[in-house]
Amino acid sequence: MLGRTLREVSVALKQGQITPTELCQECLSLIKKTKFLNAYITVSEEVALKQAEESEERYKKGYVPPYNATVVQKLLDQGALLMGKTNLDEFAMGSGSTDGVFGPVKNPWSYSKQYREKKKQKPHGENEDTNWLITGGSSGGSAAAVSAFTCFAALGSDTGGSTRNPAALCGVVGLKPTYGLVSRHGLIPLVNSMDVPGILTRCVDDAATVLGVLAGHDCKDSTTVQDPVKSFILPSLTDVSKLCIGIPKEYLVPELSSEVQSLWSKAAKLFESEGAKVIEVSLPHTSYSIVCYHVLCTSEVASNMARFDGLEYGHRCDINVSTEAMYAATRREGFNDVVRGRILSGNFFLLKENYENYFIKAQKVRRLIANDFVNVFNSGVDVLLTPTTLSEAVPYVEFIKEDNRTRSAQGDIFTQAVNMAGLPAVSVPMALSNQGLPIGLQFIGRAFCDQQLLTVAKWFEKQVQFPIIQLQEIMGDCSSVFENDLASVSLKQ
């Protein structure tokens, strides 16, 4: 190995023929044997071995992207500091953040004083950590990171509600911008016609700030619109009397928890009491929305996941019999059950004999769903108000009793229609449930009226004064984070 060229040894390291530590030790051993040459005045054995260790970590990580996504680059260009990459459901498929290769994400509220007091649990440490709650998904890691004060903002993705769902369950703001407003360059595509990068923050103003940085045409993403975009500061609404809020009646489903239902009703009454016009509206195709989404999503996924063949990047298995055998084995090893299930379902819907009846049919239903929204907004409604999730966060042990598809159908029920219509939507935390857990509500706006949507959301946020999560027990001496001053700063406008 020591006689090889730099290039050759680099390939050997990448293929795992030798590890950085082994190679380092070979060099060190030879240095000792050739000490009589007096070539070295100092041998930095410890430093070298430590660097070898670090190098091994880097090799373990696997894929290292050779470029930044546009949304990441834009933030970096504005001076943002990248704290890290967050956990999620594998390939953003799921509504629990439980199906990732790095393990499930735990909801910070599981450890909050508010929740534990209601459960009458002993302080953290004395109890086994078995009944923790899910974050929702698929961008659960981002939601948990923001919720636990570890960062000021996080990016997620939103194809069917993957940003809004965990935002609601973790008590943070989750924004899905209008499709075409924010670049998808660098966002691993799931459903090209529905994906958008999502924004998670602790308050609506912060979400607007981040959106201001990210919005705008990107020549690397031809699905971004060319309309000029100015960054904006959200006005502080004092008068909502000119607003018309729509409540879609079909969103009142039997599975909706009574607590969420009651908060939804309370929110509607709040707007009305402050002078807004609040009316019941109809989105007639709502009940077919999740089915339509299921067909379109799996079909596009089947196509988009085809690029993962192990050849240019990512995991690759050792089979060398044929390309097909290698692809099949690589994909079996590299994809989890959920992803494989969706790929197979999607391929089924795309079969010649099924294409018309499933895929084209779903595309037609999509138009009907998008038109439902257009009709409602054309009738004078400014913003729709709906629940974001069916209930508050549930324990992981409960969540995993059903399969991913069932849970996704439940988790996405209120959120995916928005992706099919390409509209902006934001989940805003409203209040704590009887168990001390966050419940959020969703506002849906007209296409490209993200500013108006966020203005209404900001007014609502100020009205409801959602409590700050109390994590002192596990934060230890980071108690300065929770001083009351911090809370009042963001509300003083």
Partner: protein, 147 residues
């Protein structure tokens, strides 16, 4: 006006959930996604194999096939929607012109970076096993024995 409507709608949990159905469809349209038993159709074995070849992803177990059948039954609910005369929608931005950038080379020459992430590389080539060899045909027993 809202208060009266609210009392009516929000006090009747079953009221809003049924939604729109122009023709009698399958079972109830609840959020859970479970199909009524009579809707679950079996997917024939040759289709299963065909799908595995197309997708280059295997089912791996009978549960996975059952999941596919449930997914198909779920999708069958779309039949209840009347889509006569409705055009398929491919993109919500269909009314806009797609942006085309000028055909000038502005970046590239990044072969090194792109080759970094591949496992098998030889000089500037990605190395692949021989092609044009189809996967062996497996009988049903073998189909589920690998996992």
């Amino acid at each position: 006006m809202w208060a009266r409507a609210a009392r009516r709608v929000l006090r009747a949990p079953g009221g809003g959930g049924r939604g729109f159905a122009s023709k009698a469809g399958g079972g109830g349209v609840s959020a859970g996604g479970e199909a009524a038993p009579q809707e679950r159709g079996r997917v024939p074995g040759d289709v299963i194999e065909h799908l595995e070849r197309l997708a280059l992803v295997d089912f791996g177990s009978r549960e996975a096939v059952a999941r596919l059948e449930k997914a198909v039954a779920f999708a069958d609910r779309l039949r209840a929607v009347d889509t006569d005369g409705v055009q398929p929608m491919e993109s919500v931005l269909e009314d806009r012109c797609l942006y085309l950038r000028p055909d000038n080379v502005v970046e590239g020459n990044c072969a090194e970076e792109l080759l970094q992430n591949a496992h098998r590389v030889m000089e500037e080539y990605f190395v692949a096993p021989p092609g044009n060899i189809t996967l062996p045909k497996l009988d049903e027993q073998e189909l589920f024995s690998k996992s």
